[in-house]
């Protein structure tokens, strides 16, 4: 079966939850399903090359997605070779890495791709033998006709099968899970050998004949423009071929776009990256810092904190959701619990800095990119360079980490812009300083919380006021909170609202956007409430989860299944002996649970805190419910481990601003977790009868409050502000 370009295929068989966000072509309804011809090629020797459709950023989809196809195709995994697909959403469906969506969006369609290919092979064999298809079966790479004891290998049938019309996707029978030979096995990553032998498989490893290297120096204050620069001096330096100013395409808007494309800056292009970087060090540039926004150079973390303090004293400017009357209920509560929580800006810190490689050939453009959203990137490049999308070919290259950073695509525009200007292939690579200075940051925020308890210790009212960034009721990217934020709908009187402050800085999604901060806030505050009520926080949560949700317009809550969250909480409590936990001074356990990206996760953390307030996270137990099938247990566990380590990082990290710019410049000032800070991790799955969903994000959010609640148990001191240094703690 040869890999022909797919066409004329309906994508109707699976849901597209992010309909508005992704520009996959809608085909007219037809025989249904994605074409196996796009995804796989069976060779004469029976080996199979399978295309992995989504960007690989370390989340393991280049192994997991082909497993789905291989299982239903019915071949031995040892016969499979995986190739990274290029961008072609008509053939492959939406291609992106985000929202933990690879699993739920592809679980059905890719199994059907494998099953369709298997059906074609059966049809080809049946015709060859002159028997009914219903008498044929398959067994690991061969079609078998039991009655006549004949079999043919897939390799022998591939050519015939390729010429047959595609079967109707709705008629395909998928395997029973009991018969799985590939799905459910802990398979090692398909690129492991390449990684372990140092093969050039990452974005920065791309090398083209005649390629030049570029650094692109931007203003430390967003969208500042060049006033003067000593470009003549640079042009004479070793290896330097070009040095020029770019005005860029950024327009001033009240809220800064997460991905505005080409910012103003100076391009330095040289024979090697190091020569470009050395030239950049000799750059003397005068910036107009206020070119993008007059207020920008005055912005600082201290200024934001002062503003937030003022805003918290007032009622929320905008209501997000309210029912009952929280204000009144609080007045008559037996007990009130009140607290302010806060968390900082964070940078993504992908270990491979942002980069892209671009090459023009006549009017045609090729880009090699690590983007998590290559389709969006192609659109952005087309729009900003004034080229047709159909003239742009995107090659997807393995990324040294994504974490949401690579959903933004400005580096693709930079590479294309500079390549066009210098008329040569160009790789733009950002230094670490560029990467930290020019992120779309996880926005910081403040929450003013007030809860009322009745005499039995039940929560009767909940008031939450988010101070965030934006203008009026509109929030900056990834700075919004939903009306369904727990415990919305589960307490009799509820209010959640926000007030905004202006910000001249890019913000955007970091792994588990929103959740990565709001779990810390809500689950820590619930721990405080439990203490005030004299109750175990586990019992308080389970009671809230058992409450029938308020009936007044819960449309956004329709996806949330309280029983699943209660289920993982109970399981983690059982696994850790939660109810019999010891209460020794200096050690403690904390519990928390959260649902995001269709997954449900509960965690318990155990910490020790020494006399100098150094916190060691000894153990973390995580129980995750992501449906009825863990596709690759090794990869799944890896995502859970990674999420836990990421969460521990949040305890220790902050990005601060002064003079409109980010103060931290390198990892020496942004202390990501190291091996010695790794806890012992116990990860288990709660298998429920639900469609399999993803693991890139759901495990991480509840770890932060689990640890902070454990710190409280160990010391009696509550962490209400991240990083923990603000409360006098440090990570050992």
């Amino acid at each position: 079966m040869s890999a022909l370009a797919g066409g004329g295929l309906a994508l109707g068989l699976y849901e597209q939850p992010f309909r508005g966000a992704f520009a996959a072509a809608q085909q007219p309804p037809g025989r249904g399903g994605l074409s196996p011809h796009a995804f796989l090629e069976i060779h004469a020797d029976g080996t199979v090359t399978i295309q992995s459709k989504n960007p690989e950023i370390g989340q393991g989809v280049s192994t997991m997605l082909p497993m789905l196809i291989a299982e239903e195709l019915d071949v031995e995994w040892s016969q499979v070779r995986v190739e990274q697909a290029g961008l072609d959403e008509r053939a492959f469906g939406p291609q992106f890495a985000g929202g933990s969506m690879s699993t739920p969006m592809n679980w059905e369609p890719l199994r059907r791709v494998g099953a369709a290919a298997r059906q074609l092979l059966i049809t080809a064999a049946a015709r060859k033998w002159g028997v009914a298809e219903t008498e044929c079966s398959t067994d690991a790479g061969k079609v078998v006709h039991a009655a006549s004891k004949r079999s043919l290998g897939y390799g022998e049938l591939a050519q015939d099968a390729a010429s047959l019309p595609l079967p109707d996707a709705s008629t395909l029978k998928l395997k029973d899970a009991r018969d799985y030979r590939i799905i459910g096995k802990p398979l090692p990553g398909v690129d492991n050998n390449a990684i372990l032998t140092g093969k050039p498989i990452f974005g920065i490893d791309v090398k083209l004949p005649g390629m030049l290297y570029a650094v692109y120096q931007k203003c430390p204050v967003f969208a500042g423009k060049v006033k003067t620069a000593n470009l003549d001096a640079l042009r004479g330096m070793p290896g330097v071929r070009h040095a020029f100013v770019v005005d860029g395409k950024v327009k001033a808007t009240p809220i800064v776009d997460s991905d505005p494309g080409m910012e103003p800056g100076i391009a330095i292009v040289a024979d090697t990256w190091w020569q470009a970087q050395v030239a950049r060090k000799a750059l003397k540039v005068e910036w107009d810092f206020a070119a993008g926004s007059e207020a920008a150079p005055a912005m600082s973390s201290q200024g934001f904190a002062d503003q937030a303090e003022k805003l918290l004293k007032e009622p929320a400017a905008h209501t997000i959701r309210t029912y009952g009357n929280a204000e009144t209920a609080l007045k008559t509560a037996a007990k009130i619990v009140e607290a302010t929580y806060a968390y900082p800006f964070l940078t993504h810190g992908t270990l491979e800095p942002q980069n892209a490689t671009a090459k023009f050939d006549g009017g045609k453009l090729e880009i090699w990119t690590t983007s998590q959203a290559p389709g969006g990137g192609r659109q952005l490049v087309a729009h900003q360079l004034g080229i047709a999308e159909s003239d742009i070919t995107i090659h997807m290259v393995r990324a040294g980490g994504g974490f949401g950073r690579r959903l933004m695509n400005e580096y693709m525009v930079e590479a294309a812009w500079i390549a066009r200007e210098v008329k040569a292939p160009v790789q733009v690579m950002w230094s670490r300083e560029d990467d930290i200075a020019h992120d779309a940051y996880r926005p910081g925020g403040w929450h003013g919380l007030k809860a009322g308890l009745d005499a039995q210790g039940k929560v009767t009212a909940w008031q939450q006021h988010l101070i965030t960034y934006g203008q009026g009721q509109h929030t900056a990217p990834s700075a919004d909170i939903g009306g369904d934020e727990f415990p919305s709908g589960r307490v009799p009187n509820y209010f959640i609202g926000h007030s905004t402050m202006p910000l001249w800085l890019r913000t955007g999604p970091l792994r588990a956007p929103g959740a990565n901060a709001y779990a810390f806030v809500g689950q820590s505050f619930l721990d405080e409430i439990a203490l005030a009520a004299g109750r175990d926080p586990l019992d308080l949560q389970l009671e809230l989860l058992a409450t029938v949700p308020d009936a007044s317009g819960n449309s956004r809550l329709s996806g949330f299944n309280a029983e699943r969250l209660a289920g993982v909480l109970k399981q983690v409590a059982e696994e850790t002996g939660w109810r019999n936990r010891s209460r020794k001074q200096g050690t403690g356990m904390g519990i928390a649970a959260y649902s995001c990206h269709q997954g449900y996760c509960a965690e318990v953390a155990e910490v020790t805190v020494d006399a100098a307030n150094r916190v060691r996270v000894n153990q973390v137990w995580a129980v995750a419910d992501v449906g009825r099938q863990i596709i690759n247990p090794s990869g799944a566990r890896a995502q859970a481990e990674g999420g836990i380590i990421e969460a521990i990082g949040h305890l220790n990290l902050e990005i601060t601003l002064a003079g409109g710019r980010v103060e931290q410049t390198n990892f020496t000032q942004y202390h990501l977790p190291r091996m010695r800070q790794t806890p012992q991790m116990h990860i288990s799955w709660r298998i429920t009868d639900n469609t399999p969903t993803g693991l890139g994000e759901p495990v991480m959010p509840a770890v932060i409050p689990a640890v902070c609640n454990a710190i409280f148990a160990a010391t009696g001191k509550r962490v209400r502000s991240l990083p923990i240094m603000k409360s006098g703690f440090s990570l050992a």
């Binding site: 090692p188 032998t197 270990l351 491979e352 393995r398 980490g401 890896a638 390198n666 190291r674």
Partner: protein
Amino acid sequence: MSLKLTVNQKAVQADASPDTPLLWVLRDHLDLKSAKYGCGVGSCGSCTVLVDGRPVRSCITPVSAVAHAQITTIEGLSPDGTHPVQKAWQEVDVPQCGYCQSGQIMAAVALLERTPKPTDEQIDTAMQGNLCRCGTYARVRKAIHTAAGQPALRD
């Protein structure tokens, strides 16, 4: 300027100025892409290679300083990924994105040369310069124990 170096037991030449960091000579002049750029200040360890068997942050090592040394990169550990440390890494399925892994492996190789049966504490200390943003640390530690021929002391 033409420099002579010994990399993976082969004599090579590179046309680079003497203060060019070894990382960029390897990547841009010798086409050995395994050592990675992560920070440029010796903080993340993704550029780690061995110089006379010792782990070195090649992003801050001027090439002139290693002109007479034996430089080893991951490409020189084995012709086909069969060095015991590479095999252990495969067995434990360590990599997530994989970007830090070359540096991790070279640091691990150096550790095991000096300390054939390291404790967890010794591993943590030797590996503290190697950042992994994805969080593969537990598996790195386990793989080091596996390569040392001893069971992992904790999962």
